[in-house]
Structure formats: structure tokens, C-alpha cells
Symmetry: C2
Subunit: 169 residues, 2 copies
């Protein structure tokens, strides 16, 4: 009986190691899917690559900028992304009225983290280059965070961001 179990065990080990080997080879040879700038926040939207690029577009096209900070391995970011990507009105507003940027790394501009660096968080920047720290989500401890249930507030905030700050610039 013991001998029988041992040979089953050895056979299992052999099969597992063959499977592991072939899987390793497969991963190595597999073609990578090209990375997209949208990172899943709306493949049909046009995304800026960097903050510098986004600021240039915002100024030259006179549109507000929406910056989304997120992380691939953060479940809150992933849940917000899903809600954001499937909300047709948000996608339409974003497409027609905003310069868009999503970032997984912080920029050197401290104005983009008025109450700290956390994810997910969404900041708006006026075409006058002013960060709209006044446009906040519903949470007092993380003012720029949103959850999937906050899409109504996010839509309203997008509408607010469309009304530009009066500026002498």
C-alpha cells in the first residue's frame, strides 16, 4: 500500500514538473499584448501619456484636465475603473470635454496630492493650470477618492470642472 502511494506520488511529481516546464516555455514564447495608454479606463477615449503632455493639451485646447491616479494591484482602483469604464455618460463627458490622463506613478507636482498620495484619486486641473482642490469626492479623510457607488457625484464634479475658474491669466 505504501509502495503504491509512493509511486502515485512520484508520478504526480513527474507530471507536475512536466506541466510546470511546458507552462514556463509557453509563457516565454507567448506574444505580449501591447500595453495601452487607457489601461482599461476607456479604450475609446484619447489619453495623454504624461502630465507635461496633458498640461500642454489642456492649455492649447482650453479644456479641463482630469488626472486619475490608480494601481493595477489595488482592488479599490480596479472597482472604480470598472464603474468608470462602463458609465456611458462619464465616458461621453470625458471624451467631449476633458483632457485625460491616468497614472500609476506620482508626478513631481505636489499640487496633485493636496491631502496625500493615495489611490484611487481623481484631480481636476483648470486650463489656467490651477489644480481644482475644491472639487472633492464624498470622503473627508481622502478627499479625492471615489468608489463605484459615487458615479453620480463624479459626473457632477466633471460638470463643475467644465465651468472654468475666473482668472487673470
Amino acid at each position: 500500500m505504501f509502495k503504491g502511494l509512493l509511486s502515485v506520488f512520484l508520478a504526480l511529481v513527474a507530471v507536475t514538473s512536466i506541466m510546470a516546464k511546458s507552462e514556463k516555455t509557453a509563457v516565454k514564447q507567448e506574444k505580449r499584448v501591447p500595453q495601452t495608454l487607457s489601461r482599461g479606463w476607456g479604450d475609446q477615449l484619447i489619453w495623454a501619456q504624461t502630465y507635461e503632455e496633458a498640461l500642454f493639451w489642456a492649455r492649447s485646447r482650453n479644456k479641463p484636465l482630469m488626472v486619475i491616479f490608480h494601481l493595477d494591484d489595488c482592488p479599490h482602483s480596479q472597482a472604480l475603473k470598472k464603474a468608470f469604464a462602463k458609465d456611458k455618460e462619464i465616458q461621453r463627458l470625458a471624451d467631449e470635454h476633458f483632457i485625460l490622463l491616468n497614472l500609476v506613478y506620482e508626478t513631481t507636482d505636489k499640487h496633485l496630492s493636496p491631502d496625500g498620495q493615495y489611490v484611487p484619486r481623481i484631480l481636476f486641473v483648470d486650463p489656467s493650470m490651477t489644480v481644482r482642490a475644491d472639487i472633492t469626492g464624498p470622503y473627508s479623510n481622502r478627499k479625492y477618492a471615489y468608489e463605484p457607488s459615487d458615479m453620480n457625484l463624479l459626473r457632477n464634479n466633471m460638470e463643475r470642472a467644465k465651468t472654468f475658474l475666473k482668472t487673470e491669466l
Copy 2:
């Protein structure tokens, strides 16, 4: 005869305007191809999105960073991109030994433009965060420019960048 020509003309106008209309609708409804981070410089390579991200990777993975500045509407950039993307040895070196970043907008780091902001230009950054201003192309007036015929030199320069600067950091 005149009447016959006129009706043919009117029919043509009608068909043309219908075609124009349906084309317009088609363009509007056409799905956009998601933008890729590679922008054609190697879809199988892994690209950083921003300079901050690239520096973080270079430092944490102890790999040199290669920054390619280019523009979509610059024929020199396009020609270099084509040569870069189809050079198998350059693609292999890039994949195995470098953190990669291609940018169409300048960063705020003046060290990345030692002799001015022009495209195309390629800069290497040591994992110690030092821009390798010593690794140059063949042109004295634009030291960091390369042309499609300079792929041998670019490969050699990539090999040089793999040899890290000695640093106290």
C-alpha cells in the same frame, strides 16, 4: 438631351451626398484603435509610461534607462522608429537589459536635453540616476540624434550603457 443630363447630374449629387453622409456617420461611429505605449517602437517590449515611472524601475531593477524623444509628424523620427523596431538585436538588448521610455513631450529634467530639445534623440540614464551625456551618436551638431544607418553605433552605445558608472550612491 439637356433634361437627361440634368437628371443624371441631380442623381449623382443625391448619391454623392448620401455617400458623404453615411461616411460621416461611419467615421463618427468607427471604433478608435486603443493607443499603445510602444507607439510603434516595439510592441513586444515593455514600456514605462512616464519619466518618473522609468526612473523608479531603473533604480529598483538596477537597469539602465533608454529615453527616446520623437514626434509622430517628424519623418526622421519615423525612419528611425522603423529601423529600431525591425532590428532584432536592438529589440533583444532593449528587452533584456533596459528600462524603456519613448516620449513625444519633453520632461522638466534639463539633464535630458544636454545640447537642446530636438527629435529624434536618444539618451541613456544610469541606474545611479545619472544621465549618460557621454554616450553620443555620430553627429556633432545634434549629439544624441541617430539615423536609420546608425544602428551599429546605437547597438554599441546600448552595450556601453550596460556598463554602469562607478558611483558612491
